[in-house]
């Protein structure tokens, strides 16, 4: 097995409040290729902060982050933009899509940023949207799609860029139960069939059991790390 992400003594302390907040406190973890991991924990436990750190969106105040063996916490900001574009797929809780572009244009957009060929963009965008069950919504704008459909487009976009792994921060938080399960079904399928490395955070008990590995955070530290078979 191949290690995709490795953190050692990862730490993020926010100093801007009255007392310093240890949002991420000494986390050392490894994520293997093809793993489907849920990061769980109550609100404020540091899930988002941790995902932002391994996603190269934020700088740690201590420790190291290795992506495929490359230390990213020392990278310059401009290098990180490009690194994210080529290596990491993102799905956020909301505001994932460009409202003025259709589903297909949204998926193509990331490949455009990667400077892929037009033909490849065209083909892959259609393919990815088929994978998430939206082949009939290629030309719909985000406001013509339900919340669940929008999140599926976001997943399609995240995968279209052929990332090393996909990070999803509370992707189901704004969804009803059915849509939430549906989204997890799709993520599970992509993980199994395409061997995509997926890490998602949630405090939603309903969807936790879909993951193959569940890491529980409490006050910025790992309190439990269990593999579910």
């Amino acid at each position: 097995m191949k290690t995709v992400i490795k953190t050692t003594n990862l730490q993020k302390i926010y100093n801007n409040s009255v007392a310093p907040v240890k949002a991420v406190n000494n986390i050392s973890l490894e994520f293997q290729e093809g793993e489907f991991t849920a990061i769980v924990g109550p609100s404020g436990s540091g899930k988002t902060t941790f995902l932002n750190l391994i996603g190269g969106l934020d700088k740690p105040t201590g420790g190291e982050i290795y992506i495929d063996g490359t230390e990213i916490s020392t990278m310059k900001e401009s290098e990180l933009f490009d690194f994210r574009l080529r290596n990491i797929g993102f799905v956020f809780q909301s505001y994932n899509l460009i409202p003025v572009l259709t589903a297909k244009e949204n998926v193509s957009f990331i490949m455009l940023l990667q400077k892929r060929s037009k033909a490849e963009m065209e083909q892959r965008a259609t393919e990815m949207l088929e994978q998430v069950g939206l082949s009939d919504k290629l030309n719909s704008r985000p406001n013509q799609l339900s919340g669940g459909q929008q999140q599926r487009v976001a997943v399609a976009r995240a995968l279209a860029s052929k990332p090393k792994f996909v990070l999803a921060d509370e992707p189901t938080a704004n969804l009803d139960t059915e849509s939430a399960f549906n989204l997890l079904d799709i993520m599970e399928k992509l993980n199994k069939e395409e061997n995509i490395t997926l890490i998602f955070s949630t405090h939603d008990q309903r969807v936790i059991e879909r993951a193959g590995r569940v890491i529980t955070l409490v006050d910025g530290s790992v309190s439990k790390d269990e593999v579910i078979s």
Binding site: L57, D58, S78, R84, L85, Y95, V100, F109, S161
Partner: protein, 407 residues
Amino acid sequence: MKTLLIISWRNIWRNPQRSFVMIVAIMAGLWGGLMAASLAQGLMNQRFRTGVEQEYSHLQIHHPEFIKQDNAKYVIDKREELSNHLDNDELVAAWSGRTIVSGMMGTATLTSGVTIKGIDPEMEAQTTFLDKNIIDGSYLEESARNPVLIGRSLAEKTKTRPGSRIVLTFQDLEGELASASFRVSGVFQTANSYFDETNVFVLKQDIGQYLGKEMVVNEIAIVLNDLDQVSEFARTYASKYPELEIRTWSQLSPQLAFYNELGSTMFMIILMIILMALAFGLMNTMLMSVIERIRELGMLMSIGMSKRRVFVMILLETTFLTLTGAFGGMLVGYTTVHIFQNKGINLGNVGGDSLTDFGFEPIIYPELAPSYGLILPILVIITAFATSIYPALKAIRLKPAEAVRQE
């Protein structure tokens, strides 16, 4: 880049109301600016044209001493040779030799200081179109006995009409005071009422007779076929007739040269003020649109859209918004100017006689130099670029991690 263009264009229509208001504001601003500028330009051009056509012509030739002392005894030497030369010069459209004498015009009740100009009616008509400016009575005729043309404001002031007798008093070439009776044959009016009040025209031979010499030519006014050849023409004649003083319209009337510049300067000033006002409105609009999209911009930068691209996107949005308005404004502005270009806008109703007092015609024909059609969009684009810098900087200074967290 193409996708970025599409996104930017569509983005400005996400809040159609706000964009529409901004576009209409830009349109109105530019329309107003173009109208004001074209009126100013029209006014200045008219002042310039009437000044050159009716008063100064393109060039004038004098005896150097005449300019200093304003005495009719300083006549133009080599008159015969010069007139031959002018008659055969292809650059020359028309010219007129004049006797110039300072004197007084008197009626039974009133006297007024005037410049008496002795002219050849035919040649003067071709040079300054004086015959076209007769509003009452008739132009000078060789057959009449001592006819005189006086300006409208002088006629009103002295209460004279065609047929009235007046007395002109002046010094003859010997320095003796001479007086002669003239009969008003016509009243003229130019755009410059001051000119009308201070100039009277008589036949050259009539005034010559009282001065004591048949042909007294103190001034030659010349009109060329092409205004642009004035300086070259002046140089040639200056070297050929070093004993004469030859001056171009801009040397004769620095004021006219100034008006000529003023038109375009005023256009620039008006435009700058309008663009500056628009820039603030525009900046406000763009800032609002950036602030509303913090999460979306954070998302874009998170997935790897470079800051450069985000910057360009905001820049394009501002430019599209501005250009749409500017295009509309220019279309409406140029159309309006085109409509009134030949019809004119009568400001006489508003300003009364104050315009003519300053030598302006009451009806203004708005004019826009075609070059403005190029300068304007360039200035507008520069404004759009300058305006978008701050909102665009605001956008790229967002920290992706924080921006996506925004509630």
